[in-house]
């Protein structure tokens, strides 16, 4: 950006001849960009067109609810709760891992840890789901028992604790591990891009390593952290298979994190209900998909806005 150059400014280039390669390349990139827009528009149109009949669906197709909103709200609640728990766990963890890789660990160890974290992103979600339901859940049962016995006065741990450990907290933990590599990878890149001069200036003023990170690295990478968290949130919101396998899901609104009666999520509900759905029932499921689409879109959009605004601030 601001690197001083010693070479004299080049003479203004003569108007380049249009080469066939340039034209082709430009065209193909534009087509690629266009395809994304068309695909997104196609999905939006499909969801809207197929989802509209759900607004007029009767109670038989809405699991006994009278309106579509009453049907979709518990699912939306579950989706947001699971994603929120996931981010609450994943964000500090990811920032810690990213800082260790970029600033604390010796280079060789940092490379290894970075590689392993990237590997986490390549594990299929169904594997996380099976692991969560068959290993993590049962292993957490004593913890849930303890929580509901000793902290049962909090609505979060009201219980009764699940006998199989397939609870909202387990789902949140699994989602946190799934969102971790995305957040870590982006944070790591951004932390390591902090201008060396800023860091050295902070250290020269007598700052400790931690103070330097707080004074130089974090302010510089704030927007990047936000967009990384938003991408992780996108993953947590849309995750289907892992949640469907892990969560003991009901269509309810409940803050209880340790009981086997947990609110379902939109994506998991679609996956579980679709095979036997017919007629308007399919429209109802697609309409919940539209709700998820809008939420995800809003999340990504707001992330972009935050990033754009902070970047403007940085240039100044």
């Amino acid at each position: 950006m601001s690197a001083p150059t010693t070479s004299p400014p080049a003479p203004p280039p003569a108007r380049a001849k249009r080469r066939i390669g340039d034209v082709l390349f430009r065209g193909s990139t534009q087509v690629a960009a266009g395809i994304i827009l068309v695909a997104l528009a196609g999905v939006a149109i499909f969801l809207t067109a197929e989802g509209i009949p759900a607004l007029r669906a009767d109670a038989a197709h809405l699991a006994g609810e009278s309106t579509f909103l009453a049907y979709a709200w518990p699912l939306l609640f579950g989706t947001l709760l699971a994603a929120f728990i996931a981010l609450l766990i994943a964000t500090p963890l990811a920032i810690g891992v990213a800082l260790a890789i970029s600033h604390y660990a010796p280079r060789r160890l940092a490379n290894l840890v970075g590689y392993v974290i990237d590997l986490l992103a390549a594990v299929p979600s169904v594997v996380y789901g099976l692991w969560g339901a068959n290993v993590l859940g049962p292993a957490m049962v004593p913890v849930y028992r303890w929580l509901s016995e000793h902290l049962g006065f909090l609505p979060l741990f009201a219980g009764p604790a699940s006998g199989g450990g397939r609870t909202m907290l387990t789902a949140g933990l699994v989602l946190a591990i799934m969102a971790l590599p995305i957040i870590t990878a982006i944070c790591r890149e951004i932390f390591s891009q902090t201008p060396r001069l800023h860091e050295e200036a902070a250290l020269a003023l007598g700052a400790t390593r931690w103070e330097m990170i707080r004074m130089a690295v974090f302010p510089y990478s704030r927007s990047g952290i936000v967009s990384a968290v938003m991408l992780g949130l996108g993953r947590a919101l849309g995750e289907t298979m892992a949640v469907a396998l892990v969560l003991s899901a009901f269509r309810i609104v409940s803050w209880d994190l340790v009981s086997g009666t947990a609110p379902s999520t939109i994506a998991a509900n679609i996956a579980l209900s679709f095979p036997e759905a017919t007629g308007v029932g399919v429209n109802v499921l697609i309409a919940t998909g539209l709700v998820l689409f809008v939420i995800t879109f809003a999340v990504n959009f707001s992330a972009r806005m935050i990033v754009a605004r902070s970047e403007k601030g940085l240039v100044r």
Partner: protein, 369 residues
């Protein structure tokens, strides 16, 4: 005409090849239209062509065995079965998209008249697959559990919450039942297994189980798990759990013996077949139907009342003579001793009794063009 159809089917075939795991139903449908005529393979069997079916996923394992058996006996034949679910299968059958369909539940009046219109006569309905649903449990130190219908309903309805509840102790005086919470596991998805299980609860204990016969779990009690495998692993991995699943998938888990009359009966193929024999025919399914109103509250000794019955739908006549022959051949194989044994081995279903087979043969004989 034929070449254009074949050309049109080519991408369909390519899709089919690419998406083995996705069970490309649309591609399979296209194929069916083009391959209806015989190719004259000299395999000792006169049958050739492609037969398409869709429907209940409960029949999938048995259908795999039937397809393999029928195709190896008739090398010119391809049978496809898309396990889209009972509702989807009936829908495709009524619209003429598939030649036969598998369904866990019977047709309603509207579907029946639409199917009769499509077929030109009342559709043929035969019980192809009868399978016991086991009540599985995992309690430390308890190897033998006997329950009556009302207690079972109480456990799943959430009225009985401890394993040492007097109602459970009453039928298990010798068992070492723990003072622990019951975790009752049920299916999270809409399923024929749930439908049949709740039908049983509704029949034997309507005052305890007040939620009727439903495919989707109606109450917020217990724990939900997806698919049969999910329920089995939730019961296996949890503590003091109980659930219900197709008996063939129950593995090493303990299986509840249910009170029938004065006796306690565990799930077995023979006991499941027996309940069909003592059940009356269902009304209003047309004249070609072997559909049963299962006697779930039967007191007949040796019958196990919690069963899943799955039916096959076919037409009496098909526009294409070859299609009719294919359907007839496939169904004949399916209810033969060989076919029933193949399903029993592959899916743990109960072979139909001789009387039922005879009746089904009579219906299948009607198929023609």
């Amino acid at each position: 005409m034929k070449t254009t159809l074949r050309r049109a089917a080519k991408p369909g075939l390519a899709v089919l090849a690419l998406s083995v795991a996705l069970t490309a139903c649309s591609a399979a449908n296209e194929e069916g239209d083009t391959n209806a005529t015989g190719s004259g393979d000299d395999t000792g069997s006169s049958l050739s062509g492609t037969l398409n079916g869709a429907g209940a996923s409960s029949q999938e394992a048995a259908m795999g065995a039937w397809r393999a058996g029928f195709q190896s006996a008739n090398s010119g034949v391809t049978v496809n079965y898309d396990p889209v679910g009972s509702g989807g299968g009936r829908e495709q059958f009524i619209s003429g998209g598939v030649q036969f369909a598998g369904t866990d539940s019977l047709l309603d009046a509207e579907e029946l008249s639409a199917a009769a219109e499509q077929c030109g006569a009342d559709p043929i309905i035969i019980p192809s697959y009868v399978s016991p649903i086991a009540i599985i449990y995992n309690i430390d130190g308890v190897d033998d559990l006997k329950l009556d219908g009302a207690t079972l309903a109480g456990i799943f309805a959430g009225e009985i919450t401890k394993w040492n509840d007097p109602a459970i102790v009453a039928t298990n005086p010798d068992a070492d039942l723990p003072d622990a919470d019951i975790t009752a596991v049920h299916r999270a998805d809409d399923s024929g297994t749930t439908d049949n299980f709740t039908a049983y609860l509704d029949a034997v204990a309507p005052d305890v189980w007040t939620h009727g016969e439903v495919g989707e779990w109606p109450i917020t009690h217990g724990e939900a798990a997806p698919q049969t495998s999910g329920v089995v692993s939730a019961v296996t991995n949890g503590q003091n759990t109980i659930g219900y699943a197709d008996a063939s998938q129950a593995g090493d888990l303990g299986q509840v013996e249910v009170q029938v009359g004065e006796d306690f009966v565990g799930p077995s193929a023979e006991a499941a077949a027996k309940v069909l024999e003592v059940s009356p025919k269902a009304e209003g399914q047309g004249e070609n139907a072997m559909a049963y109103e299962l006697a779930r509250d039967t007191a007949e000794s040796g019958a196990y009342p919690i069963v899943l019955t799955s039916y096959l739908l076919a037409c009496e006549s098909y526009a294409d003579a070859n299609q009719a022959e294919l359907v007839k051949g496939f169904l004949t194989y399916l209810i033969s001793d060989e076919g029933q044994q193949a399903a029993a081995d592959a899916a743990g279903s109960a072979p139909l009794s001789d009387a039922l087979v005879e009746e089904a043969e009579g219906l299948i004989a009607k198929i023609g063009s």
